[in-house]
């Protein structure tokens, strides 16, 4: 055994990463900028995006991207911090969209009021409807949350309520396109940092405990179903918010808002971006939604390319972009002798 010829790759936290973990972060510009740089790149990048892209079409793509990002954020939060795999993105969007539409057309509320109201009330409705499957563990939540959007869409179609197949038209749009974009980008950034904060509070710890071992949480005297319901409420508020914005952007609300795209694309974005990082899924949406727009020229082949990209990611980088990026940013590698 020639031990001196053997080497292995060592992974070590960067010194600056270790220093910025503590109070020392406040002591020097270098440490401060190490912490602030990634956040600033994200915030300024998002704010600059509408100014950088060419034309109205791509500005609209960015708004849609942000709505998908909200859904992906809510999916990642539920899946990786509470352990509930939700396929209900479409349900959240649909409920939020219809709520905003009804509030706007029937009661004449302006968009800046309908969006938050629709989000809060819609979140309540979604949580109530999903409540029966919360005490169960396993695939039940995923199945039920997948069935609801199909169920509601067919119900509206068959009973011809809420505008039937035509949907609800005549909804007020945002005052101008800049307000529309910055409103949604602002909400997205706010929720992104908000959820990041939430998962590190005490409640966030309990939620992660629910994912890891719900029996231990129960044994610690906490009501698992209650905490799950809280998490579902938070996630569905995010989804409904996206739906409400969507209704005002298209000035129309219809059963296509229950389309399964809203459930599936956020999951794909989470896979690409890196689950459990919260920011990863947002980045995943920023990559996937524009790609799917670009691929529109190929017609139905679009789905083929799309699927190939996803499969390639799962095979070669199943950890996700963000997990990989964080590691490269915070750690360095070197060969060491054994």
């Amino acid at each position: 055994m020639e031990n001196n010829t053997q080497r292995r790759k060592e992974r070590i936290d960067r010194g600056i990463k270790v220093r910025t973990d503590g109070i020392y972060a406040l002591m020097s510009i270098r440490e401060l900028s190490y912490l602030l740089l990634p956040r600033l790149v994200l915030i300024l990048g998002m704010l600059a995006l509408p100014l950088l892209v060419p034309g109205m079409y791509w500005q609209r793509v960015i708004t849609i991207t942000c709505i998908y990002a909200l859904l992906a954020l809510s999916f990642d939060f539920l899946a990786h911090y509470v352990g509930l795999v939700s396929l209900g993105g479409a349900f959240f969007v649909g409920v939020g969209g219809y709520m905003a539409a009804i509030m706007n057309t029937t009661f004449g509320l302006p968009p800046w009021l309908t969006v938050p109201l629709a989000a809060l009330a819609g979140g309540g409705i979604c949580t109530l409807l999903l409540l029966p499957c919360l005490p169960l563990r396993g695939v039940y939540f995923a199945i039920v949350s997948l069935m609801y959007p199909l169920f509601v869409a067919r119900l509206i179609e068959a009973l011809n309520i809420l505008g039937g197949t035509d949907g609800i038209t005549g909804i007020d749009g945002f005052s101008n396109r800049w307000a529309e974009q910055y409103f949604i980008i602002g909400i997205l950034l706010l929720l992104l940092f908000g959820v990041r904060r939430l998962v590190n509070t005490d409640i966030g710890l309990v939620l992660r405990g629910v994912k890891d071992n719900d029996q231990a949480i129960r044994a610690s005297g906490m009501n698992v179903t209650l905490y799950k319901a809280m998490a579902v409420y938070i996630a569905s508020v995010m989804g409904c918010l996206g739906g409400a914005c969507l209704a005002h952007i298209y000035m129309w609300s219809g059963i296509s808002q229950f389309a399964l795209d809203f459930s599936i694309l956020p999951i794909a974005a989470t896979v690409i971006g890196g689950g459990g990082t919260l920011i990863g899924p947002v980045l995943g949406c920023l990559i996937l939604v524009p790609i799917s727009e670009l691929l529109r020229e190929f017609g139905t082949l679009r789905i083929v390319f799309y699927a190939l990209i996803l499969v390639a990611f799962i095979i070669f980088r199943s950890e996700g972009i963000m997990v990989y990026g964080q590691r490269k940013y915070q750690q360095f590698e070197r060969w060491t002798r054994i």
Binding site: M1, N3, Q6, R8, K9, E10, R11, I12, G274, S318, E319, G320, V323, Y324, R327, I338
Partner: protein, 253 residues
Amino acid sequence: MLEATGLMVFYENMLALNNISIRCGVNQIIGVFGANSAGKSTLMYTLSGIMQDIQKKEAMAGGERITLMGEVRYMGEDISGLKPSQRARKGIVLCPERRRIFNESSVLENLKIGGYLASSSEARNTLEYVFKIFPPLARLKKRIGGFLSGGEQQMLAIGRALMAQPKILLLDEPLMGLSPLMQAELILATKGICEEMKLSVIITEQYARPVLPIVDYAYILENGSAVMEGSKQELMDNPDVRSAYFGIEESYE
């Protein structure tokens, strides 16, 4: 029969096994003793090849980087690169820590799954043999695995490992959480299995006292390094071992 030289395992930068070399001869019982975090389970995973599986999964998920080094030879053949399933086919069968029985299958099904690779006559004979050495299992044939008691589950886990027709049986902490009575029973059964089925056994345990009487040779691990090795008698006579692993305090004159 099984010979490992210079085994080193790193979990990221933490050294879990430090240059361990162990040998197991034909029809021998080898003991590996050590406290928690000494590296016993890591050693078992490395010998059975499961470590390579863990390594691959961690790499895919972007988790810890596991570095494996050293050589495992089985009947003179280098098997360091083989997958766990290939090693099991060659006769190196692990009975994992915490039993890991199939909770939702019945006792009989559990055993049948274990005997999947064996020919049907071998499986039938071994099944009979397992029921002979562990009579409670024959009585509980139809019971769902998850509803067995700890001792019965351990019997089932060993039985399942035997069904795979091992030539070397790796028992990882088989006595964990069992009453002293059950421990004695299991150790006796292990001894019997070794003699009747003509196989070798490597057994790890934290507390050496119940196991040491049946082993031929033993290694003592501490923080990933082998601090001592020797035959049963050598270890029994060593005052450090007596106090640390038997709970016998020497009286100082």
